[in-house]
């Protein structure tokens, strides 16, 4: 095992994420195509599915917006590699940008300059969770800006309750129409503070499509919002049709009695993600 091996594993994960849609997403898009009754909507899904197959076979990015390379790291406290993780990830992003290739997407907001390799202040961004055990699990979510620009934060009055949250989520997603590249995956973060609600919403996107929240009440609530959004008729790419979203995933934290923060995160159909697990003996798995 060497730093090189682990860095290469992160490059591999970035390649898999950019070029190959996870099975759960591909199958959900195929199912949406089979049930689509709008010709225009069906044509959008056909183009999406054809595009996904071309990208996978040629190992090229499925979308030209290869996103900001966003990482979620579950760092086992007993892992011997904690000191190196940031360096592996940063080096892997620069290497992946030229090797895959990825679009250089980091811009200095003050100078307007682009370093050309997806590096920059706080980039790539890493969300850290310290967890038990001796493994490090690195999840990459290369998220494009079309869907990220449709994110929303609502600081709702707690009196609106669960019904008010549902209304805010559905109205927001429908108002976005075709802009976040539907059919989408909607991540809903509830509670905590403003930043926490948004972060929980983004983490909720990482769950597989078809999975339900562990709490049956939350799972039923997810299902209800999924059905409501798909009653809208916005459809694939906003041209009208049956499937506007592929899933709604909720995550929550306890809240302040006077606050009801709601974070709404939207993931486009190109729901790209991959994971690297680094064992304590240096063994590496990429999936």
């Amino acid at each position: 095992m060497s730093n090189q091996t682990i860095r290469n594993a992160v490059v591999d994960a970035l390649r898999i994420a950019s070029t190959t849609l996870p099975d759960d997403v591909f199958n959900a898009l195929k199912a949406a195509r089979e049930s689509e009754t709008s010709d225009l909507g069906a044509a959008q899904l056909d183009a999406i599915l054809e595009n996904v197959i071309i990208a996978r076979e040629a190992s090229i990015p499925m979308c030209q917006d290869t996103g900001l390379q966003t990482f979620f790291v579950d760092a086992g406290v007993k892992s011997p590699f904690l000191a190196e993780i940031r360096e592996w990830i940063s080096a892997a992003v620069v290497a992946a940008t030229s090797q895959i290739p990825l679009r250089p997407n980091t811009v200095d907001p003050f100078k307007g300059t682009n370093p050309g390799d997806n590096s920059g202040r706080f980039m790539p961004f890493i969300n850290w969770d310290i967890v038990d055990g001796d493994e490090v699990r690195i999840t990459v979510l290369p998220k494009g800006s079309g869907s990220e620009n449709m994110s929303a934060l609502r600081m709702l009055p707690p009196g609106v309750g669960l019904q008010g949250i549902k209304k805010a989520v559905v109205e927001h997603v429908v108002s976005c129409q075709g802009m976040p590249c539907p059919p989408t995956i909607v991540g809903v973060g509830i509670g905590g503070g403003a930043d926490i609600a948004l972060k929980l919403g983004k983490k909720a996107i990482l769950r597989d499509i078809g999975s339900a929240h562990a709490d049956p009440q939350v799972a039923a609530y997810e299902r209800e919002m999924f059905e409501l959004i798909n009653m809208s008729g916005v459809g694939p790419m906003g041209v009208g049709g049956e499937t506007t979203c592929l899933a709604v995933h909720v995550e929550y934290a306890y809240r302040h009695p006077a606050s009801l923060p709601l974070g709404i995160l939207i993931q486009c159909w190109a729901d790209r993600r991959a994971r690297v697990v680094v064992q304590s003996d240096g063994g590496v798995e990429v999936a």
Binding site: L40, A43, Q44, A47, I48, E50, N51, I54, A55, A58, I60, P61, M62, C63, Q64, D65, T66, P101, L102, R103, P104, N105, V107, T113, N114, G116, G144, S145, G146, N149, Q163, K166, K167, V170, E171, V174, Q177, G178, M179, C181, E224, L228, M231, S232, G233, V234, M237, G238, V239, G240, C268, W269, A270
Partner: protein, 200 residues
Amino acid sequence: MERRLNLPINESQARELRVGDILFLTGHVFTARDEAHLTMLKMREEGDALPFEPGEMALFHCGPVVRAAGDGWDVIAAGPTTSFRMELFEDRFLEAFAPRIIIGKGGMGDRTQEAMEKVGAVYVHYTGGAGALAAKRIERVEDVYWLDELGMPEAAWIFAVKEFGPLLVTMASDGGNFYKELEPRIAENMKAIAARIDRS
């Protein structure tokens, strides 16, 4: 109806296009996002000549992934970006350069629609994110402008395309607007949605 067009097209050809037409384009397109629009508008205001003629090509809202290959470039992925960002200045761009076809995703606003009616141009929708599929229809990169200043996604790339599509006309010069036609249906559905939420 389905139409196979060779670029450039003139004003009267553009004015014949209607919402719902499916286009396949052969000829040249140039990419421009926020920064390339602003660069070209500034050059026009200052009286500087542009290095290419935007009116002879289709305007593609796209920030591609390209890779240097020998003396030229390979296009790896090149789907449309969200067009609405360009609503801020697309009307001025249309009046200055009159590209007859704008390719993007998500649609644009009233200012752009009015400028398209005045100038004689259409907006066409291409499937968002279908970057690998789009790249297959791009035959070659003819040139690139402002790459050093603006970076890969924001530069103006000139692509030779063949049978580029299918592109759905969603905004036309006769005032036709696919998104506006869809809105009452969605609004009607929202009533049923609101009623179900109220019952919950």
